[in-house]
Amino acid sequence: MKITNIPIYIHIPFCEKKCNYCDFPSFANQNERYINIYLECLENELKELNRISSLIQAKTIYIGGGTPTFLSETQLERLFIMLHKYIGINDIEEFTVEMNPGSVSNDKLKILKQNGINRISLGVQSLNDRELDVLGRIHNSNDVYRTIDLLVSNDFNNWNIDLMYGIPEQTVDSWIDTLAHAIKFKPKHISTYNLKIEENTKFYNLYQNKELLLPDEENIITMYQHTIDNLIKESYKHYEISNFCIDGYQSKHNLIYWDNYNYIGIGSSAWSFIGNIRYSNPTSIGSYIETYKSESLSSSWHDVLSKKVEIIDCNLRCQMEDYIMLGLRKIEGISVADYKRRYLQSFEANFSKQIEKLLAHDLMVRTNRGYKLTDKGVLLSNEVIEEFFE
């Protein structure tokens, strides 16, 4: 079996410190030895993949976390050596590494550059030091300036910054301020996320005790609308509910997720979608290491799957729902021709009732290629998507 043109996600679940809002399977401040064991497991997983597929050719690679740049220089080099060894990356279109301001040195950036990284995603979150403190981030706004200087001096020109609104104690004004500063950096890509309080986080406990001063819904909506207005004014294109970019710099890797195509995830808690099967690696780093600590002798697809923790067999209905769920999050919406090509059915025939209702409620509109959410629909996108679910 050959796997070509595939996006690959590599998960590095280590951080210097866990943030107050984070419910990601990431693990703060692990010692070097433990990280090395983890890297060995990544290699074992890649080897296993190689055994069932002689050729894996990446279209994009995204190294996410955690904080991938928490790895030492030696560890980063080891990671790249193994990626080159097991994955064909000659034709790679996009190679992203996530990093946090302050976690990266000039030397580390040089390693990334040497190894073909052509896109950086920077977890800035806010440029207000008080807000960064509330979030429990390890960096301050000065670290952001320094890191961006380093990126520029190392010739990285395609980078994203992640920003967060709805932070406790944040005001509409402080958000507009953060946004304005971010624009001055001239990033090619900006992701703006509304902070959500997840269970099993520090914030969740504070929230339960009503000790979290979150901006109210009206303010959040105002923040979101300012985001769209201000970024569009600065020539950014709004292309996904939470994502903006200078045209041509869309995240290719993420677009593949949103187009509901296949991808491979390597590392603890990473999800893959192959054929019509979605599956996840063991979630905790411990159980992942347990699974991949020794070189696997698996030689069949079935053996590989038997190691995964959640295996979802997506039937046609489920695939269509996923396609709509992800597709409608793109501002251009979904293409009925693409839907037909993918699922051999008519979107309009499948969902005539839903379409009628959503058009009537002004949540969705017809485009020349299909359907997209209205501004109102974007804010209520979960309600819209739910309509299409069985």
Partner: protein
């Protein structure tokens, strides 16, 4: 003396009267254990309460009779029939019939709590049936037990001689033998003649899918044998006896049920409604002249609409009701249609508890999500035509418009409340608020007062229990009986959602209370109904007049901000969960209503004056 006369003289039929929580079930367990009917190992806690639901709620719904053998200190072996009674005001009539099957009763009184209104009601029922009452002061092991005070209460309130009252603790198995000795020595053996024409009192029945209805009966005169053709004297239905038996508590087949005995009859009876509680079984070939006294047909007092949340489950709901009806002769239902809720059933119950039990059983045993409309009583409407035509109104939507009405009558109850004197003011305020007419107030002892009011049943159905409980910190006990119909100033109040009338919310209400209730109800609904994708006005109206209005603002934002990398399933689960929530809602017009909304009409806290 022949065998059965000897046996008759050694038979004792008794039941246990107790307030909820005073320890009836535990005592029954101990008696079974003591007489060796069940070994401890076999013994599931509280064996007489059969259904899970009963056990959970600590109440007994279905009666049951157990035959026990007891070797008394006088050297004789006695046959004891312990007849269990339901412990709630809704089932008063059933209680009275099982008491009628006995010659005596144990009156269990909590050594700390003393006598409660409900106990009292059942004691009077027992006295009406000329039962020998043996007082038992239970829970004497409790640190705050005061048996002497409670004995005095028994003498003062009921007028029973309590000097011999057994001091017991069912939990600790103290006093069980004393109780049994008193049963043998104080309760008379059954009267009646084995040679007289058959008269057997039906005090309960239940449906067995394999054998049909199983009738629980007490033979008052004559003898039943297998093969005999029997006749139910009220329903005039005839059946052939297939099997007779008793419960020990395991069912044991017997060759006959002779005079004085208690047991069950199987006779290929298909419908519990043919075996009405209180009816008399007689020999079809040699019928008794008269039925036993005391039979009456029980009519439901409380009605509500029951609708499946999923329209497709209508047939399932019908089957569920039919199955429950097999075992519950007092449950009534007929199909009804609501513009808001679609197809469902109008169901009649003995009371609120009965309603809640049926509702829970449907949801639990049959797995059907239900919407229950607010319970309503049966109103009597008289039209202003020349005949003053009489119409029974068991559903508020059926009340004719005011211009067609001469008058409307509603059922009243006599409510007896017993309460520590600190709470007299609170209780009287509740009763006044509930349109009650003060009738009587008596001091039972230095601390406790018995208060009697006449109150419209609809006010009892509304939230009387809850208010009574909260305003008296649970100290009040309460009992009621229907006393008849009276004319009241009643109007129909409707609720409009998004300008559409939702018939399931309509209610009949006293004119003076309509404004306040209307305002409370729309406020409550605004709190319960989730925001929709558009603004939803809620209005309460009488006729065409809007008496209260609230608005639910439109939902503006429900968006998943971060789309975490490849974890699509996480997003899916979120949407699926949201979808599940919606599925539990009922679409009424354009508005999605949660089930609680339909109960909101019932559960409103009146603003209390502090």
């Amino acid at each position: 003396m022949n065998d059965h006369m000897d046996k008759q003289s050694r038979t004792r039929n008794f039941s246990i009267i107790a307030h909820i929580d005073h320890g009836k079930s535990t005592l029954a367990d101990r008696i079974l254990e003591f007489t060796g009917a069940l070994t401890s190992r076999e013994m599931q806690d509280q064996v007489l309460d059969k259904m899970d639901l009963e056990r959970e709620r600590g109440i007994t719904i279905k009666l049951k009779a157990v035959r026990l053998k007891y070797n008394a200190k006088d050297g004789n072996e006695y046959i004891l029939h312990l007849i269990d009674t339901p412990g709630h005001v809704d089932f008063t009539y059933e209680v009275s019939r099982s008491l009628a099957a006995c010659e005596g009763a144990l009156l269990i009184v909590d050594a700390a709590q003393g006598i409660e209104a409900q106990t009292l009601a059942n004691v009077y029922l027992a006295l009406d049936n000329d039962l020998e009452i043996i007082p038992v002061i239970n829970k004497i092991d409790l640190p705050n037990a005061d048996p002497e005070r409670v004995k005095q209460e028994v003498e003062d309130i009921i007028g029973l001689d309590a000097s011999d009252a057994v001091l017991a603790s069912a939990k600790e198995a103290i006093g069980i033998e004393d109780i049994l000795e008193q049963v043998v020595s104080k309760i008379p053996a059954p009267n009646g003649s084995s040679d007289a024409p058959l008269q057997a009192l039906i005090f309960d029945s239940h449906f067995d899918p394999y054998r049909g209805v199983i009738v629980y009966t007490r033979v008052v005169n004559g003898c039943i044998k297998p093969g005999m053709k029997i006749r139910m004297m009220a329903t005039e239905k005839e059946f052939e006896v297939i099997e007779l038996g008793t419960f020990t508590p395991k069912p044991i087949k017997v060759d006959e049920l002779n005079v004085g005995e208690v047991g069950f009859v199987v006779a290929s009876i298909r419908n519990v409604k043919d075996t009405r509680v209180g009816d008399t079984i007689t020999d079809a070939k040699r019928p008794a002249e008269k039925p036993l006294p005391g039979y009456r047909k029980v009519n439901p007092m409380v009605f509500c609409g029951m609708y499946p949340v999923e329209t497709a489950e209508y047939e399932g709901l019908r089957e569920a009701l039919e199955k429950l009806e097999l075992n519950d002769a007092s449950l009534q239902f007929e199909p009804e249609t609501s513009t808001a809720l679609g197809f469902g059933f109008r169901c009649g119950f003995l009371g609120l508890l009965h309603m809640e039990i049926i509702q829970e059983r449907i949801e639990r045993e049959f797995n059907i999500n239900l919407i229950t409309t607010a319970p309503s009583v049966v109103y009597h409407a008289y039209l202003n035509d020349s005949n003053k035509t009489f119409v029974k109104i068991d559903n508020p939507t059926k009340l004719p418009s005011p211009d067609k009405l001469d008058r409307v009558e509603e059922p009243y109850v006599k409510a007896s409340i017993m309460v520590p004197n600190d709470y007299v003011g609170a209780v009287m305020e509740i009763c006044q608020n509930k349109r009650g007419d003060y009738k009587d107030m008596k001091y039972i002892d230095a601390n406790r007062v018995s208060i009697v009011y006449e109150v419209p049943l609809s006010e009892i159905v509304y939230d009387f229990f809850d208010q009574l409980k909260s305003q008296t910190k649970g100290y009040a006990s309460f009992d009621y009986e229907i006393i008849g119909y009276r004319t009241s100033k009643l109007v129909k109040m409707d609720i409009l959602l998004n300008n559409e009338e939702v018939d399931a919310f309509s209610l009949i209400i006293h004119k003076d209370k309509a404004y306040q209730r209307g305002r409370l109800l729309v406020e409550k609904l605004r709190g319960i109904i989730p925001r929709q994708m558009f603004e939803v006005p809620i209005q309460a109206t009488i006729g065409n007049k809007v008496i209260a209005r609230e608005t639910i603002s439109a939902m503006r934002k429900n968006v998943l901000a971060k789309c975490y990398g490849g974890d699509i399933s996480r997003k899916r689960k979120l949407i699926e969960k949201q979808k599940e929530g919606k599925k539990r809602m009922k679409q009424v017009g354009n508005v999605e209503l949660p089930q609680e909304a339909f109960m909101a009409v019932l559960q409103m806290d009146e603003p209390s004056k502090k």
